[in-house]
């Protein structure tokens, strides 16, 4: 497995390409092209896809996935993973519901409490991963069960509904007369913030460095543990925010609210070109990846396909996209691009950042 990290590290041929080629010939660009192609095809060929409800429905259904995908991108770039996001969403929806409906707390206050608890749950994951040194895959499988368990314990056999009218409608009301629901406003803000954080700050550089090598990052002055703690905390807080949204949107909270979302989030992030080994990825790719799944889902449903066809296609896309990104460069590397390039294009030795992680 870890030999694949070789292809993730930038190789000399990558630098030898000119700027335009580097901007246009990468995974993110491919996903965006795919998204545009699917969208245009669906507009032309799928009945009702160009209707007024399509974009609106798609945005409000995929809002929580897109939200959770933002911090997940950063976490996966550091080479970690957070499987507990959907459970955190469920716990936060439960907290919001119980506080507002049963204890008559005002919604903003309840939402604040839920988001703080979400941040705490995320920080707990982060603590175990960053400071105790446990593998995040194992920790978050545990907290996936634990946080869902909290939601179940809070709600029990109740079904919570009856959120205050004004708040309940806000997220799914349209912005002006457009096709877009209000929830897209906070999403847009968060997308920009996360993009700035990842791509334009030293914190973000640190995130990439950790993904390429924990140790190298440490020695170049990145506070590895603190960075991871911050990322998991952010992930918890954003998932909790998504939980508040889901509770309001459906005006209902049950124990299985958001169940299974984690896999959709991860599928979107990976489809968006983030390497599961860490060290590589970009936020615009992830946004396009999630939207691609959303548009495909919507188009296939309108075309009368069942949910299983959508499942199959998402699965094939996932498999196909990793094979393409891991395998094609290796083929390309075998074919001498230019005489000069081929001599200066050694296969970077597999620097197993994976290898170190096992020493826990």
């Amino acid at each position: 497995m870890s030999t694949a990290t070789a292809t993730e590290a930038r190789t000399y041929p990558a630098y030898s390409r000119n700027l335009a080629a580097r901007l246009l010939l990468n995974r993110e660009a491919a996903v965006i092209v795919g998204l545009v192609a699917v969208y245009l095809y669906a507009m032309g060929n799928v009945p009702f896809f160009d209707g007024p409800l399509t974009i609106f429905n798609l945005s409000k259904e995929y809002a929580p996935i897109l939200l959770m995908a933002l911090p997940m991108t950063l976490i996966i770039i550091t080479g970690e993973i957070d499987l507990s996001v959907a459970s955190t969403l469920g716990a936060s929806a439960a907290i919001t519901g119980v506080l507002v409906v049963e204890h008559d707390l005002s919604l903003p206050l309840a939402a604040l409490v839920a988001i703080l608890v979400g941040a705490l749950l995320g920080a707990l994951n982060g603590f175990f991963v960053a400071y105790v040194g446990l593998p995040s895959l194992a920790v978050t499988i545990g907290s996936l069960a634990l946080y869902r368990g909290l939601a179940e314990g809070l709600i029990q056999d109740k079904r919570i509904s009856g959120f205050p009218e004004g708040w309940q409608d806000w997220p799914t009301e349209r912005i002006g007369t457009s096709q877009y629901p209000n929830i897209l406003i906070p999403i847009a803000v968060l997308v920009v913030l996360f993009a700035l954080l990842l791509h334009f700050t030293s914190f973000g550089r640190g995130v990439f460095e950790i993904g390429l090598s924990d140790e190298a990052a440490h020695f170049s002055g990145v506070n590895v543990a603190r960075t991871k703690l911050v990322l998991f905390t952010l992930s918890g807080a954003v998932a909790a925010f998504a939980g508040v949204y889901v509770a309001l949107k459906s005006n209902s909270v049950a124990t299985d609210t958001g169940n299974g979302f984690e896999l959709k989030v991860i599928a979107g992030v990976l489809l968006g070109g983030v390497s599961i080994f860490g060290g590589r990825g970009a936020l615009h790719g992830v946004v396009a990846g999630v939207l691609l799944i959303a548009v495909l889902n919507s188009a296939l449903q309108l075309d009368g396909q069942g949910s299983e066809v959508i499942q199959i296609i998402i699965g094939l896309l996932l498999v196909g996209s990793v094979i393409a990104s891991n395998f094609l460069p290796r083929i390309r590397a075998l074919i001498p691009r230019r005489a000069a390039a081929s001599t200066t294009a050694p296969q970077t030795p597999a620097t197993g950042d994976e290898t170190r992680k096992v020493s826990q």
Binding site: F49, R159, S252, V253, S298, L302
Partner: protein
């Protein structure tokens, strides 16, 4: 009750015809539908796919839609999450479907989407499991909740001799129907002072979970005499466990189940008697009600009357609900008369 059994006979005949594969192909022109039904598109949206109960009800719906010459479709989520149905409703609305027949996983979560669909001109009929009354045009009620609760308490009381500990194996902890019935059963049990309800567990309408919860119930309550499972998945999983257990014949099981799932267990003596309405009739009625709404024959107001093919005439009751009938009891003597 006489009307009911007549309906049931009709349902059984229906099922028989369907099983012979005659109904499926070719449109027998029995002329029941009226001529203008050609472009009525009706989409059935069950709680989840792969559920034999909804298989049967939706097959009944399909039969009705074919009878009146409309276009039938069935869509649905794999699992019964609270808002898993939302995207299907949204899609139906965008497609401009004439009639949407929904069994709601959640009374409130679907409301926004259903309202949007109705604004787009889709008639919304709920069956089996209702939403809030203001989010739909009609609710096709399989039986009154009181009737469903009473028949189950009656059956268990008869089987355990009106005394002893009983437990309930329900669907998901938040299931609206089941929770309403459980509440009414608790009321009903007040008139059976010697029966004690000791536990309620939730099998999530999943075979394995229900199976394991049954095992846990029996281990946890050694003096248990009866189990009520008001869900078709739960009762068959519980029967499967009981049939292989030493408690078979000592612990009685009843509830709501379909004859095909329960046939083996009734024949081997694990289960004496259980109840259900005919889900095929329920779907059949829902489809005809949708047609009546789409055609403008009714508006869903109390007192509206419409004819539902072979089932005869129905009247809309309060809160825009239409009642199918009373639950029917299945036992060793009559179970072979039914195939659904």
């Amino acid at each position: 009750m006489r009307i009911n059994s007549k309906r049931f006979a009709a349902g059984a005949a229906l099922a028989l015809v369907a099983s012979l594969g005659l109904a499926a192909c070719g449109s027998d022109d029995n002329g029941s539908g009226g001529g203008d039904g050609g472009d009525i598109t009706v989409t059935f949206l069950p709680k989840n796919l792969g559920n034999p109960y909804f298989d049967t009800s939706d097959a009944g719906g399909e039969k009705a839609v074919k009878e009146f010459g409309g276009t039938y479709d069935e869509v649905g989520p794999d699992t019964a999450g609270p808002d898993a149905q939302v995207s299907f409703i949204d899609t139906a609305a965008a497609q401009g479907i004439k009639g949407l027949v929904v069994s709601a996983n959640d009374p409130t979560a679907l409301c926004d989407s259903l309202d949007a669909a109705r604004d787009a001109g889709t008639k919304v009929v709920t069956f089996d499991s209702d939403t809030d009354a203001e989010c739909r045009d009609l609710f096709i009620n399989q039986a009154t909740s009181e009737g469903i609760a009473k028949v189950q308490v009656d059956m268990i009381a008869e089987q355990i001799g009106d005394a002893g500990e009983i437990a309930i194996l329900s669907a998901a902890a938040n299931a609206t129907n089941q929770n309403a019935w459980i509440k009414l059963m608790e009321e009903e049990l007040k008139s059976h002072p010697d029966i004690k309800l000791v536990d309620t567990v939730y099998g999530d309408d999943d075979d394995q979970t229900s199976f394991d919860k049954t095992a846990a119930l029996l281990a946890d309550h050694p003096n248990l005499k009866g189990i009520i499972s008001p869900t078709t998945v739960g009762i068959s999983a519980a029967a499967r466990y009981l049939s292989t257990s030493k408690s078979k014949g000592k612990v009685f099981l009843t509830g709501l189940g379909t004859p095909n799932q329960m046939r083996d267990y009734v024949k081997d003596g694990t289960v004496k008697e259980f109840a259900l309405w005919n889900p095929a009739d329920l779907g059949y009625l829902a489809a005809y009600a949708t047609k009546a709404l789409v055609d403008g024959d009714i508006t869903g107001a109390e007192g509206d009357k419409f004819t539902a093919g072979d089932l005869g005439e129905f009247t809309v009751g309060e809160n825009g609900s239409v009642l199918l009938g009373d639950p029917y009891r299945f036992n060793a003597e009559n179970i072979d008369d039914f195939d659904f």
